[in-house]
């Protein structure tokens, strides 16, 4: 069931006609990935629902004692910038790897820059976790803290997974070249990375900023 070329075949950046069969092939695998992402979104939704039903107790340190405003701002900046650089990576692939033998240096540069920004995010998030635990807010202290740690931690795990996936793609692209397999992997990874930034919008708005208000 292939739509006429030129038209977008799946939500997300399409490879386009100049990629020939790779473009058509992407339809099934990217749609399948959307199904996964949407079910992952439901998982995040449930963690949010649990978080929404808890509140900081008087017994333990609350958001104002535990959250580091500057660090949250840094994490948000890192993730938003990395979302753009991942977009640059997938755009480079689309625009320059339609034919054969295009230079992969630019693509690898954007991918590694994304990894670097992702690591910056993780570094700040993990330091925050450590200082939260030190300030008397480990996940075992209250229901609110359990929900907070598991929601933010689940997102952090996803980011870690995204970084590892990106590194695998970098190696694959360098060893095998930008062939169909890695093109489809890149399309899906870029969607995943943007998706994580969308989830982060909810986390920084409702969990962190909402808690600090």
């Amino acid at each position: 069931m292939s739509a006429p070329t030129g038209q977008s075949l799946h939500p997300g950046l399409n490879l386009g006609e100049e990629h020939g069969d790779d473009h058509l092939e992407a339809e099934t695998s990217v749609f399948g990935f959307w199904v996964f992402m949407m079910s992952d979104l439901v998982t995040f939704g449930m963690f949010f629902a649990v978080f929404a039903t808890t509140m900081p107790l008087a017994c333990c340190p609350g958001p104002k004692e535990l959250f580091d405003f500057g660090s949250i701002a840094w994490q948000t900046a890192f993730l938003l910038l990395s979302s753009v650089t991942s977009g640059m990576a997938v755009l480079t692939m689309k625009q320059e790897h339609g034919g054969r033998g295009a230079c992969t240096k630019k693509l690898v540069f954007w991918l590694l820059l994304t990894v670097l920004l992702g690591c910056g995010f993780l570094y700040r998030e993990i330091s925050d976790f450590i200082s939260m635990a030190a300030a008397g807010g480990p996940p075992t202290r209250s229901g609110y803290l359990s929900a907070l740690w598991s929601l933010v931690g689940l997102h952090g795990l996803h980011v870690t997974g995204g970084i590892i996936w990106c590194l695998v793609i970098v190696v694959g692209v360098l060893v095998r070249g930008v062939d169909r397999r890695w093109k489809l992997a890149l399309l899906r990874w870029a969607l995943f990375w943007h998706f994580l930034d969308v989830v982060w919008i909810f986390i920084f708005s409702f969990v962190f900023l909402g808690g600090l208000l």
């Binding site: 199904v35 979302s83 753009v84 689309k94 943007h194 930034d197 409702f206 208000l213």
Partner: protein, 96 residues
């Protein structure tokens, strides 16, 4: 021409997302209060739309029907599960 248009698309999305991030952060840092919460929610919703439109390229023009159904159904499930959880537990809380 088409190439620079695609790049422009990402950069527009970035500019909009950056503004919609800076607004809530400045509000929380300076003003605070319950009134800011409305702006916070508004900015979050707008930014999600910006991300979907400019980064995830979600547009339903010329899309096959299943894509739209997938996203809408997920939205529906989320609404039921999150809304239901908050409703039931909120109700219990007021009865306690």
């Amino acid at each position: 021409m088409k190439k620079s248009k695609e790049l422009h698309h990402y950069l527009t999305g970035f500019a909009l997302a950056a503004v919609l991030t800076i607004i809530p952060f400045t509000l929380v840092a300076t003003v605070g209060g319950a009134r800011s919460y409305i702006v916070l929610v508004l900015c979050a919703i707008l930014q999600v739309i910006v991300h979907l439109r400019f980064f995830l390229h979600l547009s339903f023009r010329g899309q096959q029907k299943e894509d739209l159904q997938l996203v809408l159904f997920t939205g529906f499930i989320l609404f039921l599960m999150i809304g239901g959880t908050i409703w039931v537990l909120g109700d219990l809380y007021t009865r306690m």
